[in-house]
């Protein structure tokens, strides 16, 4: 049974499922973040309050945290195992035609993870009561952060890298789940590109609008 649960294919299956769940959550998060553009802090704070208190959301939150943990732990362990599969490398760099997005998943994923940890300290841990702050006024907290130039630059870099990660992630998850054929795969690749551009730009544009117009 262990061989089945922890075979190379099964691990990738679990990673793909966890990753797809995270991909579903991102547009929800973006939808809430766009409320930051309103002058009135109420809608955003209400949405944050709803996310923190509604019972069904709390269940989803547990699944989300598990998905993050599984995706990160499997991603890192699989990468380390894969590195060990070629103990002696090539003298000439491998020039096989692949997209850079697919080759650097561990590094783009690592950057996203670092941002996620910072993000947790800034917001999620306040909600959990692990870090001091007002969980009922995330609106002003977000605005304060977006007024720190260094933070915004880091935010933009991380979202650009998230876009690179997502572009390969979505199509790769479908391939891992066995959903690849000559008709649907080009469609999924197109959707991956749209998703990987629209979602990160959606997040990145918020501090820009705040800077320029607010």
């Amino acid at each position: 049974m262990n061989k089945i649960l922890f075979s190379a294919v099964s691990k990738k299956f679990v990673m793909a499922l966890a990753g797809l769940f995270l991909l579903l959550f991102l547009p929800v998060h973006l939808g809430i973040n766009l409320m930051l553009l309103k002058e009135d802090p109420e809608p955003f704070n209400n949405a944050a309050h709803f996310m923190a208190t509604f019972p069904l959301v709390k269940v989803v939150e547990i699944v989300l945290m598990l998905a993050i943990l599984v995706h990160v732990i499997y991603g890192i362990t699989l990468q380390i195992i894969n590195w060990l599969k070629r103990p002696v490398g090539y003298a000439v760099r491998n020039k096989s035609e692949t997209s850079a997005f697919s080759r650097f998943m561990i590094w783009t994923g690592g950057a996203v993870l670092i941002f996620l940890i910072i993000h947790f300290f800034n917001f999620y841990f306040i909600k959990l009561g692990l870090v001091e702050g007002d969980p009922e006024n995330f609106y002003s907290l977000a605005w304060q952060l977006f007024n720190i130039p260094g933070y915004v630059i880091l935010y933009w870099i991380c979202f650009a890298l998230l876009g690179f990660h997502l572009f390969h992630a979505l199509q790769s998850a479908f391939q891992t789940l066995g959903l690849n054929n000559d008709f649907w795969t080009p469609v999924i690749k197109g959707l991956s590109l749209i998703y990987a551009i629209v979602v990160p730009i959606g997040f990145a544009v918020i501090p820009l609008v705040i800077w320029l117009f607010k």
Partner: protein
């Protein structure tokens, strides 16, 4: 043509190897890559030196024996060719060519450019076959096969097991090879009978032999001399999930 060759030389599996440089003159653009190495070896033998060891058999692109990492590409820079089919006209006079063996934990170097690819054989033995009672051939029309399915099965079956997919993959993964071998049976009615046990056994053996997992980069597909498609890997995954 005049070439500068940099070739990996290693006495046996236990010794440490290193690159040795050779200058080779009078290389005809009509030669194949292996014939160019034959010319080098003739010169080495005449000088009383050890020739470069490399795998080869049919020299017609179908046996899967030859295979080396040439200037950063498994089987060289031309897509869809095995090393034996790679003509020297694809190189230029004065070129430097670095030749390395396949590099993977599951493919240890035996000598110079020869690696031990018996890990592939063990994966095949685990399930890459159809159990039949030996005897007279069955009536061909007793099991009808859809033409499209049969063409797809054939496209998978043309995998020659050369190992270029493993050599190209950043994870030294054998997923393209295993997927081709699983697909060629999974697509035909005769192969469906043992489909579940086959895919489970072959994937378990693939892991046991020390190959990496698939990151869907597509390097294997790009470098496969028989242009086996990534859709085979998706099919392998599907077959694996269906097997439980």
């Amino acid at each position: 043509m005049k070439l500068k060759l940099k070739i990996w030389r290693q006495k046996n599996a236990k010794t440490k190897g290193s690159f040795v440089s050779y200058d080779l003159d009078n290389v005809s653009p009509d030669m194949s890559f292996l014939e160019m190495l034959d010319a080098l070896n003739k010169r080495l033998v005449e000088a009383g030196k050890e020739p470069v060891a490399f795998d080869h058999d049919c020299r017609e692109g179908i046996c899967g024996s030859c295979g080396m990492f040439i200037n950063g590409y498994p089987h060289g820079p031309v897509p869809g060719l095995t090393t034996c089919h790679l003509a020297m006209r694809y190189f230029n006079d004065g070129d430097s060519i670095t030749i390395e063996p396949w590099r993977a934990k599951a493919f240890p170097v035996i000598k110079d450019l020869i690696v031990d690819r018996s890990a592939f054989d063990r994966i095949q033995v685990a399930g890459g076959f159809i159990s039949v009672t030996a005897g007279a051939a069955a009536e061909a029309n007793s099991v009808l096969v859809n033409k499209h399915q049969s063409d797809m099965a054939f496209d998978s079956a043309i995998c020659i097991g050369c190992g270029a997919c493993v050599a190209a993959c950043k994870n030294a993964s054998a997923m393209l090879f295993v997927s081709a071998k699983v697909s060629q049976y999974a697509l035909l009615p005769q192969g469906r009978i043992e489909a579940k046990t086959r895919v489970r056994a072959m994937i378990a053996e693939m892991d046991r032999q020390g190959f990496g997992s698939c990151s869907n980069t597509g390097a294997c597909e790009a470098q496969c001399p028989k242009q086996i498609k990534l859709t085979n890997i998706a099919r392998l995954n599907r077959e694996y999930y269906k097997a439980f």
